[in-house]
């Protein structure tokens, strides 16, 4: 007698897999995380309490803003099979350029709307510029973009911390590693009593819609999708692959740059330590994009949900004293269960006993 194990493709994916898979993976991730929390002597009820209180509080939307922006950007790149992992650094690039302009370049008594427009645009340019480096290295020399964008994340992290500990450390900040507060005209307005900087939220939603149109309704979008699904077809049909790679990298870097503008000018009003400007938003945005199956409109929804999770992790930190980094367990498991269930919705594992 022998036990044979193989995988059989389902004739059709299971019914409603579009809904079952994401929700199922969230439930599975929560179950596994609870077990791990139990094993490390933390009552998992705190996790659910934190999620519930974050979900009830609509100010958690503040965490969704950078996630949506970076997530939409990543969706463009991933559609083309370009693996930009550099959102984290691109967010920091947006934050650094904003601080430089707000504190040292732009006149402090400036009409606010003009100042904010300049900040948003230069944030986009800064993020796009940082993404241009790996794009050029990939197109010209074939350097793997995963590694080059990762390296740039660490370089930007160190640069930001150098600035806040060194030359940009605020004179009125009692020696803390943060820059001076921006002049009032550079503050992105917030919804009263929350830290939701609504202009950035509006930009995020508009960009999601525009990106949806770009990907599904334009020639460039078509080329992006062809390159992503069948690189050989793209090559032999004479598409300019270098151009497409550069475009998707510029856009995804630029969107993350805008998120960086929002974080410093909309929430903190000053540059702070890199780990606090972007607490892993660039990496979490990968989950946001993947959970939405790279659909920019769905990203608004998944960005909202993961925003709750991010906010819950801060609450969990207060409840139990676990560090923010521990929450990576939940996000990591969520992504793993998502890709595993995605597979199981299309394939069926079969165990057969052969006599």
């Amino acid at each position: 007698m022998r036990v044979s194990f193989y995988i059989k493709r389902r004739v059709k994916p299971i019914k409603y897999s579009g809904i079952i898979v994401p929700i199922g993976s969230i439930i599975l991730a929560l179950i596994i995380s609870s077990i791990l929390l139990l094993l490390s002597n933390i009552n998992p009820l705190y996790l659910y309490q934190a999620i519930a209180s974050s979900a009830a509080e609509y100010s958690t939307l503040r965490y969704s803003i950078p996630l949506i922006l970076a997530g939409v950007g990543l969706a463009i790149a991933y559609r083309a099979n370009v693996w930009n992992i550099g959102s984290e650094g691109q967010i920091l690039a947006g934050a650094v350029i904003t601080t430089w302009l707000a504190l040292y370049i732009l006149p402090h008594e400036m009409p606010s709307s003009l100042a904010l427009a300049i900040l948003y645009i230069s944030g986009f340019i800064a993020g796009a510029f940082l993404a241009l480096i790996p794009a050029i290295l990939k197109v010209k020399f074939g350097v793997n973009e995963v590694l080059s964008t990762l390296m740039l994340n660490y370089i930007m992290l160190q640069l930001t911390n150098y600035l806040v500990y060194g030359p940009w450390r605020g004179l009125k900040e009692y020696g803390y590693p943060r820059s001076d507060i921006f002049p009032k005209s550079m503050w992105i307005p917030q919804i009263p009593r929350t830290s939701i900087h609504y202009p950035t939220l509006i930009i995020a939603v508009i960009l999601s819609i525009l990106t949806f149109i770009l990907i599904y309704k334009t020639k460039t979008g078509y080329e992006i999708r062809v390159l992503g699904s069948n690189p050989d077809a793209a090559k032999y049909s004479g598409m300019n692959i270098a151009k497409i790679i550069t475009i998707v990298m510029l856009l995804s870097g630029g969107f993350a740059g805008i998120a960086g503008v929002g974080e410093v000018a909309g929430v903190h009003r000053q540059l702070i330590r890199a780990e606090m400007v972007s607490a892993g938003f660039g990496y979490t945005a990968i989950i946001v994009a993947w959970l939405a199956k790279l659909n920019p409109l769905v990203i608004i929804l998944t960005g909202y949900f993961i925003g709750i999770l991010v906010s819950a992790s801060y609450t969990l930190q207060i409840f139990t004293g676990v560090s923010y980094g521990s929450v990576n367990v939940i996000t990591g498991i969520l992504l793993i269960s998502l890709i595993s269930l995605e597979f199981l919705s299309r394939y069926k594992p079969v165990v057969k006993i052969i006599r």
Binding site: S40, Y154, Q158, L159, Y162, I286, L335, L344
Partner: protein, 292 residues
């Protein structure tokens, strides 16, 4: 000068272990971005288990097992479940980061009862690591086992026709490779830094991934680049102190800038023609299948 060299060897050894592990995995055609998570988890597991047991060798073993766990999940998800290797690896890196902070949090500030006395036996380590790299080279390029691993990494379909169980080989290579990455992580604290703080070792996994590339997936070249990076680390240590007094954050960029430049030089020059990546690296293996 000799001080710097010794420090370079001590700092480079964990990178060498991790990059040789990742090299085995990549030779079988699996791109494991979980290497970063396995390394960081290996650091935490090695430290915690050494504090508990008081034996640094158990620490190395537990670090390796923790790394192998990450590799096992990566093998299951990206080879058996055919998920995208980049996404699976990144998810596991986050998972490894999180698990390290979660289970290591109570051990912050607790000193290590014992550690590996690497600074006294550095020349033995140097000789052993070169021998180990040579053995690995012999295994990969001269033995039948190596041919099997390489065939799966170059052309899994032909390998399958010739009777190789592609899935099994890939999963095994991922687990064994990640075990070595985990040992490297444990070594990083037990043999080099002797401390534990949250996030210790972050970024080293990526650097060992870069070492694999610039070494052209060849075990003989891995020690050269690992000790080169060890040199960079040792130099950073020296340059922070007087008379240089260079800002630690500026120096902190150095390993990443060096990696980026090394990658570019490797790709932009004819080097890449001699040292090619496995042809099927990163590609998911689909066997033809019945639907009924």
């Amino acid at each position: 000068m000799i001080e710097l060299l010794i420090r370079a060897i001590i700092a480079g050894t964990p990178l060498l272990l991790a990059s040789l592990g990742e090299l085995i995995t990549e030779r079988s055609g699996v791109l494991n971005l979980g290497v970063e998570g396995a390394f960081v988890l290996g650091v935490a597991a090695g430290y915690v288990s050494t504090v508990i047991t008081g034996n640094a060798y158990i620490g190395l073993l537990v670090g390796g097992i923790a790394g192998a766990l990450i590799g096992l999940i990566h093998g299951l998800v990206s080879v058996c479940f055919r998920a995208h290797q980049v996404i699976s690896g990144l998810a596991l890196t986050m998972f490894g980061y999180g698990l390290a902070s979660l289970f290591g949090r109570v051990y912050v500030g607790i000193p290590l009862p014992t550690y590996l006395l690497t600074d006294r036996i550095w020349y033995i380590i140097l000789v052993l690591s070169v021998i180990f790299s040579l053995v690995l080279w012999y295994m990969i390029f001269k033995l039948k086992l190596g041919v099997i691993i390489r065939s799966v990494g170059e052309n899994p379909y032909s390998a399958s026709v010739l009777g190789v169980d592609v899935v099994k080989v890939r999963v095994l290579c991922t687990v064994i490779g990640s075990f070595m990455v985990g040992v490297g992580g444990a070594w990083f604290t037990l043999g080099y830094l002797h401390i534990w703080t949250e996030g210790l070792g972050m970024g080293r996994g990526w650097i060992s991934l870069a070492i694999v590339i610039v070494a052209g997936w060849n075990p003989i070249l891995a020690p050269v680049f690992s000790y080169l990076f060890g040199c960079v680390e040792a130099a950073i240590w020296t340059l922070q102190l007087p008379p240089y007094n260079i800002d630690p954050f500026i120096l902190g960029m150095l390993p990443y800038i060096v990696t980026l430049v090394a990658l570019t030089i490797f790709m932009a020059t004819p080097l890449k023609k001699f040292l090619k990546p496995p042809a099927a690296l990163g590609y998911v293996y689909f066997r033809e299948e019945r639907t009924v």
